[in-house]
Amino acid sequence: MRAVCLVTGASGTLGLRLCTSLSCDYDLVAVYNSHPPTFSYQDLHFLRSFPRRESDDKPITAYCVQADLRRRDDIRRVIELTMARHGHIDHLVNLMADTRFYGNVLSLWRAEDYADRQFDLNAIIPMKLAAAVHEVCWRDSPGENLAKRRSVTNVSSMSAMVIDKSMGQAVYAASKAALNILTMHLALELEPYSVRANAICPFRFVQNEQRTSAVISEIQELLAGTCSGEIRTSSF
């Protein structure tokens, strides 16, 4: 039986590539919010030639679910759908993020409440989702968790590790720093259940093939490995 991986932020730049890579080894449930992914899924099939009535294409990359994970009911629905389809969840990979650089801290007093929303989406929601998956799938089966090396992997950012003076990314960076700290606490709390939690902190990888590939390799390594509580910053 193939391991089941739940991926959020699946239609982003990294999500598209990651799902395509992981689909070779995992059964994927890919969550997107506003834009459907461009890889094959239950509503989109790639065909080899002029279409025929009988589908002649390869298996789909992922089973996709549209959801706004800021809503509690959507978290519940995503987990229920994944469980209904596969019966278990082995890995949770959080790619969802608001990656915009809204501006300076000193503008916050006059700004809309983007900071609250960005913090929520980038740091709090991944934890809520992990907690919900834990409650439904992992809490009562530590032995199986250990055998299957179940894990949470959060994609953070180098913005969480260094201060970039020029780009007005204070809140984004702080939200990712919070994600790192929360991931380490999550690792501690999941340890009794033999579930691992890690984060990786890539540089900006948009349209940088080498960096994107390196991030994907790193995630694959984390999924297949045994480490927990790591915040990885090297090699990409």
């Binding site: 239950q42 509503d43 989109l44 099939h45 790639f46 065909l47 002029f50 279409p51 009535r53 589908s55």
Partner: protein, 251 residues
């Protein structure tokens, strides 16, 4: 055909197929040249044989109907093989009744109305040696079957599938408009957002005409939007067997 052409099957908002990079480079270039030549000949000479006209007060596109003469220049689309493939794909009896049009929408053309294309289509009932049968618009009205200038035997068919091939839309970018919007229901709203098909050169949209194949043209803001449309037809009996409640007013 282009060996690297990519076909995709989409199930939302209704089953349809798309292809990108459909034709080989030289095939596309030939077709695009021909399309531009027709447009220019209309714009410069107002030649009645190649006249693009507005087909409807509700639709701003300039439209040139396809007949046997034009069809031979529009290969592979109006070839017997292509038509057979479409009939086969949608599982209809291959009666080879087709219609087609070249559409050219000037910048600022209005967004169209949401419709399904599932409608009656009238052909003159005559012996022909052609491989494909096109509507004879000078003898009878395609949408009503009303004879023009004399009594001719006519037969009623229904549109079974529609194809839109996008070409001569060089430099199209998101935000330019001119997409074909697909819908779940006959109106656009919060719970019925448009699924936009971009009019990129050498790409294609293909769908079965059904009671729920809701679609429309979206206003183009920057450039002229060009396309070739093709319909295949089936007998009312066959179409009604598949879509029993269809009213046939989807055009």
């Amino acid at each position: 055909m282009n060996p690297s052409c990519r076909w995709t099957q989409h199930t939302r908002p209704f089953l349809h197929y798309r292809a990108s990079d459909l034709l080989a480079e030289d095939e596309y270039a030939r077709l695009a040249r021909y399309f531009v030549k027709l447009l220019r000949s209309f714009e410069q000479d107002n030649d009645s044989k190649t006249r693009f006209v507005r087909s409807s007060a509700r639709y701003d596109a300039r439209v040139l109907g396809v007949n046997e003469d034009l069809a031979s220049e529009l290969a592979p689309f109006f070839s017997a093989t292509w038509i057979d493939n479409i009939y086969s794909l949608f599982g209809y009896d291959n009666i080879r009744y087709v219609d087609g049009a070249l559409h050219s929408s000037l910048p600022g053309s209005r967004t169209g109305w949401i419709h399904t294309d599932l409608c009656s289509a009238w052909f003159v009932d005559e012996q022909t040696t052609s491989t494909l049968t096109f509507p004879n618009r000078s003898a009878c009205d395609y949408f009503t079957g009303v004879s023009k200038g004399g009594s001719v035997p006519v037969i009623e068919l229904k549109r079974a599938a529609a194809m839109i091939y996008y070409l001569c839309n060089d430099g199209w970018e998101p935000g330019d408009g001119g997409e074909t919007a697909l819908y779940d229901c006959p109106f656009e709203g919060t719970f019925s957002p448009p699924f936009l098909v971009q009019p990129r050169n050498n790409s294609l949209l293909l769908f079965e005409c059904s009671p729920h194949s809701y679609h429309r043209f979206i206003s183009n803001t920057r450039n002229t939007r060009n396309s070739i449309i093709l319909w295949i037809h089936g007998t009312p009996r066959e179409i009604s067997a598949r879509w029993p409640s269809s009213t046939g007013h989807g055009s």
